[in-house]
Amino acid sequence: MFLIDCPYCGEREQSEFKAGGEAHIVRPKQPTELSDDEWAEYLFMRKNIKGIQFERWIHIHGCRKWFNVARDTSNDVIKVVYKMGEKPPTI
């Protein structure tokens, strides 16, 4: 089980958190203007890479805040934790 450094509460155990999938996928401002393919790209397509992945987590049993995490999916090492709205760090 990971230890996750919640940017609002500090280090807590993974059981207090819930993962929310890949980060930095912005909901289109005007979905109705999109073709089926463009909408499907937003809705379904995820990278699922081996290596550093930017992903969303929520401190569901804590402050209930969403934030971002840069995690190496090959060994689960969390490199950086940063707030929503912040740019992904270069790693």
């Binding site: 230890l3 005007q30 969403w66 060994n75 689960d76």
Partner: protein, 1001 residues
């Protein structure tokens, strides 16, 4: 055979404390400090079990947790019975009863032994190959296969013992209290780290603590004396906690480890009552030091599994630690110096060693010289080619090895013996290291896998790191510790170490035989009866990946997980396939290191604590009034209230009729309630629901449907506008938490500019719903001040009110189609208000109803239940709820998905009503719906989602989803059941009061 093989008093055994125990019904004696294995060996017993597949007689092979053969059932036919316990780990206690497994009628005469002679027709994959054909026979085969499958018997009564879980946080965790672990624990603790030292055994000091040889000295003291002083010292250190009888089961990422602490298993049964038996420790350590030691390897030759064949190190421990001779005529077979230590020890205790067989040619070793000086014959460059003796080894046959080690030459020599010690060198116990994600590297010179890279803050020291000899350990461990703990100096540097061990080893994975391999049984996995022959067969049949070979041959899949033989399996694969060991890799080491009891895993979470549940404020009333409960999410909800031995059907029929004819009352407190405030609250609701919210007047309620971004129905419920910028949303009972999470997600990540605040208030209010034609009269008695006229308080509106002095919110909303009111009041007044409603409603025959009646009533009205009539593949259009999807709104969650090419298809599954030809026939929920049963394969059009007998309509009604169902109203369909077909007609899903007259009645 003599009955006492105790050879010498040992300080680890208390000979003044005699203990009696039973093995297979016979009483034996041992002493405090004995394990079941050492006590049996002292009584001359080697044969303890039968192997899994061939039922071959098997004996004690090791002296530790790696034991593959000597696994027994404890206390058979009692609630405390436990299968597959290693005799080498059980400390004997007064009252212990153990019995052999996998044999019938007895371990001495086992009918299953015939499999041994059938073995030529039982190769690897026998079951896969044989029982495939014909496929329809599987059910017949299965009965017999199941009977012979599995080891031991599981208990059938509830476990009488108590277990618990405990969290431990520390700076440094040291796993293993052998010489390396003791050094590590002392170094860490002395430098101020909060340290925890764990060992699976009952004592500290590992194998060094019973090492009394002049050949191994530290600072001119015998190694065990030196270590004993260190142990006495560390026991006094305050910031060092020591846990013995504690086995680390799992090493997860982020230095999170699970360990099982055994607290009472060594106590007499009558001293265990009300004590915690085992404790699961959940350990978080900043740093972890693996000092898990190493396991001696067996050697792989024909018939290497007979009772009386032990690891050489085990014979050494039995004589040194327990004072027990494993045999009276011992032969040792080795490829390294370890067995000579054993020979010297046995010789000193007066235990006869007939010969040492060494597959190495001439080696310059002090240990060998001493053995030879004691007139023990050493056969150099020889190998054992076979053994004989069915229930106990009687003889070994040996032959000279060719120079390349691949063949045997010369003629056979026979040596009589009753015990054979084998030593194939040492394998680092890297199990925990790899569990944590650590990677191994292969060291060619002595053919071992040792720890390499790791991503967590941990280190391996001592023999689990490939440093096997005393001098290697004492020179490497202090250095590694200094760097790992970032400290300047160590007390253990510059020790004067004397070790006579010569490190040379001649590793031959599969020793050559004078017979062809097909005629031999060189066991690699003892417990599962996998031989070298089986591994070669798997390779011939095309298996290449070691993970596949493992599963096909079952090598390493027993309760011991192949701790002894896995390396040989890899070696044989690599030799046969011509691949390099380092490239081949290992199979995956999985937790637990040794088996855990279910009790330890669940801890205190048993019985009513197995899964915690939530109670409404009115729960006690339901219990007092005989309610049956159903689980909804984590809630206990009143399901129905049987009266006078009614069954469920009768109770539900009565409740449903009463709710429509007079009045019904429902505890709806479990519905999720989210308080929504902020200047953008209306805009927020506009975006999350499919319908429009901006124009909802203050004091009004509206039903809303929430979709996922993929357009599928996610949740539903009524939301009330309490004030300009204040709403209260209700969600389904099961969906409350996920809906809140989803709403927070959009608020925080997509629309942070919105001024909206969400608060879960589910637990803050009790919700009481009173419905039926008489509900208005009842509420007017409960809250006399409230104006209930249709004009002032119409359907879908709300009013603030008071009951006595307590504020409450009353909503006029309905899930049954009846005129109804919902009282929301501070939770702790819930029960008294409920009781008042019951009292005031008495004259109207107010009837409490549960969730089953609620489901029936709403089905009569064709109202959906999200999760029952929907399954994450239903859009609002599929549900025939087009009316709730706003055409005007520019956007809401899921809108764009409602006109994807797939969601606009005409023949999607759509919600419809179903009426049976025979009005008394009630359909089964989940039953499949078809049109034509003659065309094969029969096309499945959909399934029944809700089905009831309606007492109000006096007929069976059902909801279902059917492909293209919307346009099939009036069409006949078929529901095929196991022994009949039911004819149904597709109908409108609203069965009762389509005009909604009752709502305003």
């Amino acid at each position: 055979m003599t009955n006492n093989l105790r050879v010498k008093s040992s300080k680890f055994i208390d000979e003044t404390y005699k203990i009696s125990f039973k093995f297979n019904g016979t009483t034996y004696y041992g002493y405090k400090g004995d394990t079941l294995a050492s006590a049996l060996l002292a009584s001359g017993i080697h044969l303890v079990g039968r192997s899994f597949k061939y039922h071959r007689p098997r004996g004690i092979m090791t002296a530790g947790s790696e034991e593959p053969n000597a696994i027994v059932q404890l206390h058979i036919n009692t609630s405390r019975t436990e299968p597959n316990v290693r005799a080498t780990e059980i400390e004997i206690y007064e009252g212990l009863e153990a019995s052999s497994q996998n044999c019938w009628p007895s371990v001495n005469f086992d009918i299953g032994g015939i499999n041994n002679f059938l073995s030529p027709i039982l190769p690897a994959g026998f079951y896969y190959k044989t029982f495939m054909w014909p496929a329809s026979f599987w059910e017949k085969y299965e009965y017999f296969i199941r009977k012979s499958a599995g080891l031991g018997r599981s208990p059938i009564e509830p476990d009488p013992d108590i277990y618990e879980h405990r969290y431990i946080h520390c700076d440094v965790l040291v796993i293993g209290a052998g010489i390396s672990g003791i050094i590590a624990a002392k170094t860490a603790a002395k430098n101020g780290f909060k340290t925890l030292l764990i060992d699976e055994k009952s004592y500290l000091g590992g194998s060094t603590i019973y090492q009394n040889s002049e050949h191994f000295k530290i600072n001119n003291q015998i190694s065990s004396s030196w270590l004993e002083k260190e142990i006495n010292e560390i026991k006094k250190i305050k910031n060092l906690e020591i846990k013995t009888r504690t086995s680390v089961a799992a090493f997860h990422g982020y230095n999170f480890l699970l360990a099982r602490e055994n607290l009472t298993d060594h106590l007499p049964l009558n001293q265990r009552n009300n004590k915690i038996r085992q404790r699961l420790l959940k350990i978080r350590s900043k740093k972890v030091i693996n000092a898990t030691g190493s396991l001696e390897r067996p050697l792989i030759f024909d018939n290497n599994d007979r009772p009386g064949i032990l690891l050489s190190s085990a014979i050494d421990k039995y004589s040194n630690f327990y004072g027990v001779a494993c045999g009276e005529k011992n032969v040792l077979f080795t490829n390294n110096d370890s067995a000579y230590e054993t020979a010297i020890n046995l010789n000193q205790k007066g235990i006869k060693v007939e010969a040492v067989i060494d597959n190495r040619e001439e080696v310059d070793s002090k240990l060998i010289k001493e053995v030879e000086n004691n007139n023990i014959r050493v056969y150099k460059g020889y190998t054992v080619v076979n053994t004989s003796g069915y229930k106990r080894i009687k003889k070994v046959s040996i032959m000279k090895l060719s120079l390349d080690g691949q063949k045997i030459i010369g003629s056979k020599i026979y040596i009589n013996c009753d015990c054979l010690g084998i030593s194939g060198g040492w394998t680092p116990a890297v199990h925990l290291f790899t569990q944590s994600g650590g990677k191994l590297k292969f060291r060619e010179e002595d053919q071992v896998f040792i720890p390499n890279k790791s991503f967590s803050d941990q280190i391996s020291i001592g023999s689990c790191n490939g440093d096997f000899t005393l001098d290697e350990i004492l020179s490497s461990v202090p250095k590694i510790l200094k760097e790992f703990l970032n400290i300047k100096k160590s007390d253990f540097e510059n020790l004067e170490v004397h070790s006579s061990f010569n490190k040379s080893k001649r590793n031959i994975w599969l020793l050559p035989s004078d017979k062809v391999i097909g005629k031999t049984k060189p066991f690699v996995d003892y417990q599962n009866d996998a031989t070298a022959k089986d591994i070669k067969l798997a390779l011939r049949e095309g298996f290449r990946s070691i993970e596949h070979v493992k599963r096909y041959t079952t090598t390493g899949m027993g309760t011991d997980q192949g701790k002894l033989g896995n390396m040989h399996a890899l070696g044989i694969i690599s030799e046969t396939a011509g691949s390099k060991m380092g490239e081949l890799g290992t199979t995956t080491f999985r937790p637990p290191y040794t088996p855990l009891t279910f009790g330890t895993i669940v801890g205190r979470n048993v019985g009513k604590y197995f899964d915690i549940f939530r109670k409404t404020p009115i729960h006690d009333w339901h219990v007092e009034n005989n309610a049956e409960f159903e689980n909804v999410g984590q809630w206990k909800r009143a399901w129905y209230y049987p009266k006078n031995q009614e069954n469920m059907h009768d109770a539900v029929q009565r409740e449903s009729k009463a709710a429509r004819d007079g009045a019904g009352i429902l505890d709806a407190s479990t519905l999720g309630k989210i308080d929504i405030q902020g200047t953008d609250a209306s805009e927020f609701l506009n975006r999350v629901y499919t319908n429009a919210w901006s124009k909802l007047a203050i004091g009004k309620c509206r039903y809303g449907l929430m979709l996922n971004e993929d357009g599928m129905v996610y949740d539903d419920g009524v939301t009330t506008r309490l004030d300009e910028n204040h709403y209260i949303m209700t969600t389904t009972t099961g969906g409350a938490a996920t809906v809140l999470g989803k709403l927070e997600d959009y608020l925080q990540t997509e629309w942070p500019e919105l001024d909206v605040y969400l608060t879960s208030v589910t637990d803050h209010y009790a919700t009481i719903s009173v419905c039926g034609p008489d509900s208005k009269k009842i509420i007017s008695k409960v809250i006399p001040d409230l104006d209930l006229s249709n004009k002032s308080f119409p359907h879908m509106s709300f009013k603030n009110s008071k009951i006595d002095k307590i504020k409450c919110r009353v909503m006029r909303i309905s899930f049954t189609g009846e005129h109804s009111y919902e009282i929301n009041i501070q939770a702790n007044y819930g029960k008294s208000v409920w009781q008042r409603c019951m009292e005031m409603g008495k004259e109207f025959n107010i009837t409490p109803y549960g969730t089953e009646t609620m489901h029936l009533l709403r089905a009569e009205k064709g109202f959906i239940i999200v999760g029952q009539d929907t399954d994450a593949t239903m859009t609002p259009i599929d549900l025939q709820m087009d009316w709730i999807v706003s055409k005007k709104k520019y956007d809401f969650i899921g809108k764009r998905s409602l006109y994807r090419s797939d969601t606009i298809k005409e023949n999607r599954k759509q919600l419809i009503g179903l009426l049976t030809e025979n009005p008394d026939e009630v359909l089964e929920e989940g039953a499949q719906i078809v049109a034509d049963i003659n065309k094969s394969p029969v096309e499945m059009l959909g399934h029944v989602t809700s089905s009831y007998y309606s007492p109000n309509l006096k007929k069976s009604i059902a909801l279902g989803v059917v492909r293209g169902g919307k346009s099939m109203i009036g069409q006949k369909l078929i529901i095929p059941m196991e022994n009949k077909q039911i004819n149904v007609t597709v109908a409108d899903p609203v069965f009762l009061d389509k005009e909604n007259k009752r709502l305003n009645a």
